[in-house]
């Protein structure tokens, strides 16, 4: 895919790898982002990878916009030659689906929803062709997700499901956004999953809640002491459905500072993944539990 380049004012270069979302486009945006970072171009101040695009912030007093564009184009070409392999990590995130807190919230904003008569999970299950909510949850938690972008607000991951496109869960956003969403809600809008890092407005459908803090400006959470944001673009996430007891226990562990999500280093190869998605995902999942 040849990327499209455009300037966002005099300080941003926008690189669109593809108009539509795909793992290949995400992988390209991540590769170019890493290429730009590693090249250490003078005048580049920030590199923000997104789902199928990226943004490079620069100081035009140091590098001319056109010169930067040429440099990034060269990196795009080099990235296309490079092996589609990245070193990243996989993390297992417990989710209490159908929990009382998101349920209370979704009931409060029912008139903004496509189906005021049911829950967000009922609706998502039905329009994705699942007969029962439990089957939908099994699909949501059954395969891993790529963190394809971190942002909107601090530390919020956008996640792209690592399955064939026909199997991807898709749900429209609320008709009108809510003014409230519980912190750590696991949501879904379009083809993207997310975890709300802070309480606030939101338009994604709400499926459950995780006890695992992902953004902690006070940095009291054990695994957020080095940095307040947990996710990085390129992280792989596997959800694990848990019930109320396990949720309560995890919250207690978080408070005691002993909660530790399973995290493993992993090398991801896009070609191997595409050859056998189910097999590759099973291998990734095995890594989490040291099989």
């Amino acid at each position: 895919m040849a990327a499209r380049y455009s300037f966002g004012g005099d300080e941003h270069l926008f690189v669109e790898c593809s108009e539509e979302m795909s793992l290949a486009a995400f992988f390209q945006s991540l590769s170019i982002s890493r290429g730009v970072r590693d090249s250490g171009i003078r005048g580049v101040t920030e590199i923000c990878p997104a789902n199928a695009s990226l943004q490079v912030k620069f100081d035009p007093d140091v590098i001319k916009p056109e010169d930067l564009l040429q440099e990034v184009r060269a990196i795009e070409t080099a990235a296309a030659q490079a092996e589609p392999v990245i070193s990243t990590r996989i993390v297992e995130i417990p989710v209490f689906y159908n929990d009382p807190w998101t349920h209370e919230t979704l009931m409060r904003f029912r008139e903004r929803h496509q189906e005021p008569g049911g829950t967000d999970l009922d609706y998502a299950a039905r329009i994705n062709g699942y007969g029962a909510v439990d089957d939908f949850i099994a699909a949501h938690a059954g395969s891993p997700w790529f963190v394809s972008m971190v942002g909107f607000v601090a530390g919020l991951p956008f996640m792209y499901q690592m399955v064939d496109r026909p199997r991807q869960l898709e749900v429209p956003k609320y008709l009108r956004p809510r003014t409230d969403t519980p912190k750590l809600t696991v949501g879904h809008g379009g083809c993207f999953g997310c975890i709300y890092s802070v309480r606030g407005a939101g338009g994604y459908q709400m499926f459950g809640i995780t006890p695992m803090p992902i953004f902690d400006p006070a940095q009291k959470t054990s695994y957020l002491r080095d940095f307040m944001v947990f996710f990085r673009p390129g992280d792989i996430v596997k959800f694990k459905a848990i019930g109320r007891d396990a949720y309560d226990q995890a919250v207690e562990e978080v408070e005691r500072g002993t909660f530790a999500p399973p995290i493993r280093e992993v090398t991801f190869d896009l070609r191997e993944f595409q050859q056998d998605i189910a097999g590759y995902n099973a291998k990734l999942q095995g890594l989490l539990h040291d099989h």
Partner: protein, 323 residues
């Protein structure tokens, strides 16, 4: 050695020149919306230009000083009082311990910047003292100031009272306000008619205008070039696959009301952007009141860079003047 907050004004927060470097994780640069005004205020009281001051919008706070200090108020036009006595803006004013700084009603502009010799010495978070309320970080406990707060002050440098910034070196938007825009990003999504009407129409600042972004109303609805929406983009023609948002970028959800993202921008999302306000005009946005008539002016990259150099030389003139 502190300042005691008697009244908070309206959403008054500690701001410096921001915390660049974390936008890829959703944490915006933040900092003073009108950076030039903050730099000038700091210069006046002998601080580094990047020292933390207070940014107050529409309504000033009431502050009691607990040590002698120099204070300067820049940005919007809002009469300054020390123990009730009116004082000039854009001027280094001596304040004695026990005196109270207060403000009259706003006359023009939107945001004042209050610099105090020594700077507001709250702890740095990720290299900045700026308040980012959505992320509950920076400033005073990650929020706007409240009555009863005490604001710590750093060690003051040497500066003389009475220095002032001449009118010619102050900057507020005109009427109508003019914001220069470099078209781009998803500009091609608009029809030729919509591209023309965006720049031809007069817009007004909507009440939804804050540190995250400024919304505008009053221009004609923008139409989109027809297409089948790409996978993952969402069904509305103004939707895109969620991408990064540049600071200053202009998104128009549903084609109706343009929103310019500012210092506390959300870092990305699923709305197309038609272009970006150039860096030279970002400060001006922070001085727009709701209902201000506004025109968007189309510029090229060359013009954007020329305007940027003009801004830089104005700052150099200011520095030379206050040396």
């Amino acid at each position: 050695m502190t300042i005691k907050v008697l009244h908070q004004g309206l959403a008054t927060s500690v701001q410096d020149l921001g915390r660049p470097g974390y936008f890829h994780l959703g944490i915006p640069m933040g900092g003073a919306m009108d950076r030039y005004a903050l730099r000038a205020a700091n210069r006046l009281v002998g601080n580094d230009e990047g020292a933390a001051g207070l940014e107050a919008v529409f309504m000033g706070p009431k502050l009691e000083f607990q040590r002698d200090a120099l204070v300067a108020v820049t940005g919007a036009e809002m009469p300054v009082r020390i123990d009730g006595q009116e004082q000039p803006g854009w001027t280094a004013l001596p304040v004695k311990a026990g005196q109270v700084l207060s403000f009259d009603f706003l006359k023009s502009g939107a945001r004042i910047y209050i610099a105090v010799s020594g700077g507001i010495d709250v702890p740095e978070v990720l290299g900045s003292r700026s308040t980012y309320a959505i992320g509950a970080m920076g400033g005073v406990a990650g929020r706007a100031i409240q009555p009863g707060d005490t604001l710590p002050l750093g060690a003051a440098g040497a500066a003389a009272p009475g220095r002032t910034v001449p009118e010619a070196l102050r900057r507020l938007p005109g009427t109508p306000a003019e914001l220069r825009v470099l078209p781009g990003l998803y500009w091609h999504r608009l029809t030729a008619e919509a591209q023309a009407s965006f720049f031809a129409d007069e817009w007004k600042v909507a009440p939804e205008a804050d540190r995250m972004g400024y919304r505008f109303r009053g221009g004609r609805k923008l139409d989109f070039v027809q297409r089948d929406q790409p996978f993952g983009a969402g069904s509305d023609p103004s939707n895109i696959v969620d991408s990064c948002y540049p600071y200053g970028s202009i998104q128009v959800p549903g084609g109706t009301e343009p929103i310019i993202l500012h210092r506390d921008a959300v870092s990305g999302g699923g709305y197309f952007m038609l272009g970006t306000v150039i860096s030279a005009d970002m400060d001006l946005i922070g001085q727009l009141q709701p209902h201000t008539r506004t025109r968007f002016i189309e510029v090229t990259m060359e013009q954007a860079l020329a305007a940027r150099h003009e801004r830089a030389s104005l700052l150099e003139t200011l520095r030379a003047h206050l040396n």
